[in-house]
Symmetry: C2
Subunit: 415 residues, 2 copies
């Protein structure tokens, strides 16, 4: 039996009893996990040093090494993340609906854990702890398959967390880490129907597409965002610049940042030079269509491929549009249904944009950067779903649950 099958079976057996845990039992386990990470931080840092050393030998970029690096304060912050999960309400056991049928049957729809959640992710070792905390809080077992770059760190972290779980009511088998760093272990997880109930990929485009295209286990797709901001004719100039700069430049590498700015032609004629100047001051390269170039000739020229690109960088495509209709058409063509914004003082245009744009989050006069579990008030997130099934947009704890119907009878049979 392969490592993946063996560990997934252990996770499934553990999951069988976890729906019965009380919130207090789960919270106690999370606090023990948080304490253990802090107590054992020296050992975790030592393991992390091996990953960093290997990364340097392989010529890993400084920014990736920084994402991989753990120190005392980062471990303390990760442990604090677990303590924050303790504070969140536990959705498991909630009664969502109750209905009485004419034949006397009483039906309750109840939140239950999903079962076994598989997480396939890349280098950042904080995901190991985050994902474990969120899954265990919701009564799920979790099978983690992290990237090889963080293998020593992840192995030590999970060893520390197992030690904490052994002193708790959560079975230690509910947390599994796959050590096989070969791609074959991912391939195996993708087909493990019956043992894994859902897969959540977290990482770059190719990782996510591999999971989406090849999994027979149900997947929650997360990730890609080609997000737009449309500045309408009636927009407030100061607000428009503030929102657009924030959406692009506050953190360009994340999926809810803007990639393309659409500007109403009447507004552009008056204000595009000022907007361009603001982006230049924010060190953002602009790539304009012919309409934008005509007003700001110093821009680079956008080519067709720019409109569908998630730059993840200080680069912005800019297009002048004739109005709301053209903006809607452009977003329909190139958007990834993640986060889309209109800046306008025209209430009817705002309403039409919010109604017609098909995206997980649609904004009137606010930055797309708010598409985030913490910013939405969920207290934590396991990712941002870009699909329409099950969960869409930032996923809080309820996205890690399913439901079941409990039916109370007194001998009813079907006629």
């Amino acid at each position: 039996m392969s490592e993946v099958v063996q560990k997934s079976k252990l996770a499934k057996v553990a999951a069988g009893s976890m729906g019965n845990l009380t919130t207090e039992q789960k919270n106690e386990a999370l606090l023990l996990m948080a304490d253990a990470l802090v107590t054992e931080s020296a050992a975790i840092i030592a393991a992390n040093a091996k990953d960093l050393q290997r990364g340097r030998e392989l010529g890993t970029s400084a920014s990736l090494l920084d994402r991989l690096m753990l120190n005392e304060s980062r471990i303390a912050a990760i442990a604090e993340g677990l303590r924050q999960i303790v504070e969140l309400p536990d959705p498991v056991g909630d009664t969502l609906e109750t209905f009485d049928r004419p034949n006397g049957l009483r039906i309750h729809k109840i939140r239950v854990p999903l079962g076994v959640i598989g997480i396939i992710y890349e280098a950042r070792p904080n995901v190991t702890v985050d994902a474990a905390g969120l899954c265990l809080k919701t009564g799920n077992a979790v099978v983690l398959r992290g990237g090889s770059a963080a293998l020593h760190s992840n192995e030590k972290i999970v060893e520390v967390l197992h030690g904490a779980l052994e002193r708790s009511a959560i079975p230690a088998d509910a947390l599994q880490l796959i050590l096989n760093a070969d791609r074959s272990s991912v391939d195996e997880m993708l087909k493990l129907n019956g043992l894994i109930d859902v897969l959540i990929p977290r990482g770059g485009h190719s990782l996510i597409q591999n999971v989406v295209n090849n999994a027979s286990v149900p997947v929650i797709e997360t990730g890609a965002g080609v997000c737009h901001t449309f500045i309408d004719e009636s927009a407030d100039l100061e607000m428009a610049i503030r929102i657009a700069i924030n959406a692009k430049a506050q953190r360009p590498s994340v999926c809810n940042s803007m990639e393309t700015l659409l500007v109403h032609e009447a507004f552009a004629e008056k204000h595009l030079p000022a907007i361009a100047e603001a982006f230049r001051a924010a060190h953002v390269e602009l790539r304009g269509d012919s309409g934008a170039l005509a007003l700001v000739p110093s821009m680079n020229e956008a080519v067709d491929s720019d409109w569908g690109t998630e730059y993840g960088d200080y680069i912005l495509a800019v297009k002048v549009v004739s109005g709301l209709d053209e903006a809607l058409d452009h977003i329909r063509m190139y958007g990834t249904m993640h986060s889309e914004c209109i800046v306008t003082e025209n209430a009817a245009n705002a309403e039409r944009f919010l109604q017609e744009v098909d995206a997980a989050a649609v904004y009137h006069n606010a930055s797309t950067r708010f598409t985030d579990g913490f910013e939405f008030g969920f207290g934590a997130e396991i990712g941002i779903s870009t699909q329409k099934l099950h969960a869409r947009g930032p996923m809080g704890l309820p996205a890690l649950t399913s439901t079941k119907y409990r039916v109370y009878g007194s001998g009813q049979i079907r006629e």
Copy 2:
């Protein structure tokens, strides 16, 4: 461009505007569709006759021919099904949650259509109308891929429905029927991410497993049910027999019927002969384990493969268990998490069963046959989900929707 791609693109374009339709517009279209089916029933019956003729030539069984057959009264019943969908509340546009953030953002979570739904199904032409009605009522476009046995019937039905849609506010392109009866058209639909938002297979085990195992488009799995009834020590004999007979014999071919009866040994010692007699009177073949055979030697002997089999027939596996724990273990091992029942007068045992059994619907003192959209009061169902993502158990209209977040700001940016 293949037929599948071409028709799915048309469906996607149509779906783009359907979220804006009012409930009244959609209901009007459904009523026109119902009227057209009745008006054109002679033409539909003539097309159906071709399918029946071909079926007879191919040696199709009488029961399958009966499921395929349409006559005036069946068409009237199908049209009546559409009128019933008109009466159901439209979930699209419902506000599920509203929350205000400390920074002044107001966030609404709104129900929206899923987009384009692909239905892959077998011979029954009533599914063509049912699925079209449910999808259109929820503002979705639908791509139907029915079985070749009903191709003439389906083609005529969709032609009639298109005629009705052309007189309505719903674009006729929102309803697409794939005429290519080759398996390649199914294969193509399974990979059509970006054009089809969700696939719902309806039919036998191999059809569903093909979709689950090979689709990259998100799937809602429906179907298989190996359902159990556990008769506990304290059960009321008359109620236990009534529920067990109903669960098995009222309609053995469907997924919510019972396949295995588990009986507490103390109850079995007193009552298994009477239970066996009741099943014999209902023409049900019994296959017992050694414990059951010891009490009722006239039973056939069950072999290992009986415990995991969905007979869909007048056959029942019977096992004597030492108590609730063994019953729970057996269900964990062999159940398909569809519908499971305990018959008991012991409230603590009932509660433990309902809590611990991981199934879409768990019953205390009622037949598993109630797992059904109509019986649950949903008024209609697109199928019974046997997965844990998105929807679980009978799926009413809300299962055909997704959500989006509408965010209202006044210039907020993320710090």
